[in-house]
Symmetry: C2
Amino acid sequence: MSTRFGQRLAAVVADRGPLCVGIDPHPALLAQWGLGDDAAGLGAFADACVAAFAGHAAVVKPQSAFFERHGSAGIAVLERLLAGFAGTGTLTLLDVKRGDVGSTMDGYADAYLAAGAPLGADAVTLSPYLGFGSLAPALDAAAKAGRGVFVLARTSNPEAPGSSSPSPTGVRWRRVWSTPRPTATPARPAGRRRRGRRRHPRPRARPGRAERPGARARAGGTGAGPADVATRFGGVKGLVLPAAARSLLAHGPDPAALRAAAAALTAELTA
Amino acid sequence: MSTRFGQRLAAVVADRGPLCVGIDPHPALLAQWGLGDDAAGLGAFADACVAAFAGHAAVVKPQSAFFERHGSAGIAVLERLLAGFAGTGTLTLLDVKRGDVGSTMDGYADAYLAAGAPLGADAVTLSPYLGFGSLAPALDAAAKAGRGVFVLARTSNPEAPGSSSPSPTGVRWRRVWSTPRPTATPARPAGRRRRGRRRHPRPRARPGRAERPGARARAGGTGAGPADVATRFGGVKGLVLPAAARSLLAHGPDPAALRAAAAALTAELTA
């Protein structure tokens, strides 16, 4: 990975559209595909996803929780899934939402972001509950390895902090959700903002820039559809990766049907 | 596990004192013990910890990040470590700080808290960044399986939200840190508060009760020592699990030396 993640992401989105395929092998979906709720079923699910999307989708987003629930055997399947996408041009965004401090954050960086990380993805999600600065070891590791980081900011969860309340990270929220003319300042591509800087970022001094929105419309879970991306994220549309998981995965397990469903959704998104 | 976690915790702390032994196999510690920074070295480290502390320590707290950094092979060691402590009377508090919403939170509950969970511990840590209510599936699973949950609230990380700022969970902070007379209301034992309740907790309606403090003085990392537990947490001392990792683990790899160091620290804490 000689280029930075932000460059790779921009290139693949320009080429294939912005669709991020969520890989969420939850128990009901395994059953729907006729697979057992065990590591073998999970492995078959993962292999079908690689067959369907590798080299075709712009970005895939495996959800770590659905691999962790099968223990170490499930994590072995996750390693195989990530290896299956590596080098195919399809970027992996591993949804782990890790967040901790000090040497523990170093540990997570080693696991997911450092060069040679056993669970290395093109990018991961992180949670800033303990402060945005606490994520610095991960941001440093990502920058060195050419990987990316999506930090949770404002989410669509109704119970999450409101847009009028202070952000736990100390960064003032910009409106992104639920407005036809969002005022969010486009953030720099992930992985880019730390270039030339050695130590901790100072999110307070740069409101609107410390976090990449990484916002995603979930076409399935929240009932949002492709049209909502334009109305809700109009001003920052180019920075949004709309994610779809269940609405797409319901077309499985046939890889060709999965791929066709993703292509149809991509066409809607880019229309 | 027929009894609730809170009951088991109270009993073991009454019997053995409150010390929580942090199991943090970070690279420098592996090297200090003459072990390789790989899954084999991690396995030897874990086995020594089981030999030293199982049946002796009240609580051990493995840090998941240091197992995840060895990928699926590291998670297999974590499974072995948890199995090694199961049934010995020493409780396991697995530090994973997971937090997500909906079926993803179900996935984490399946991984760590449900009956038969592959990485089942006596208790885990969770992060409420997406809202305290989003953790409900994990709290439900824990209550059913007799396990416990420690939810991050106010931490000692200087960059975390100040005690005067609103909590991201919507619960008003009570002062715990840095005051000789803390005003924190003692929370009910973990796992107890949901008894008889079926659905989502309502943290806003019960300030001071929605979160168990789960506060821990880190005798190593932050320079706090046994005496600080009394001065900083005097009013809630009985609810505090002071954790020590590096200051103890530096006595390894000899299990007898590790056990002796833990006993000495326990004596200081209970003096």
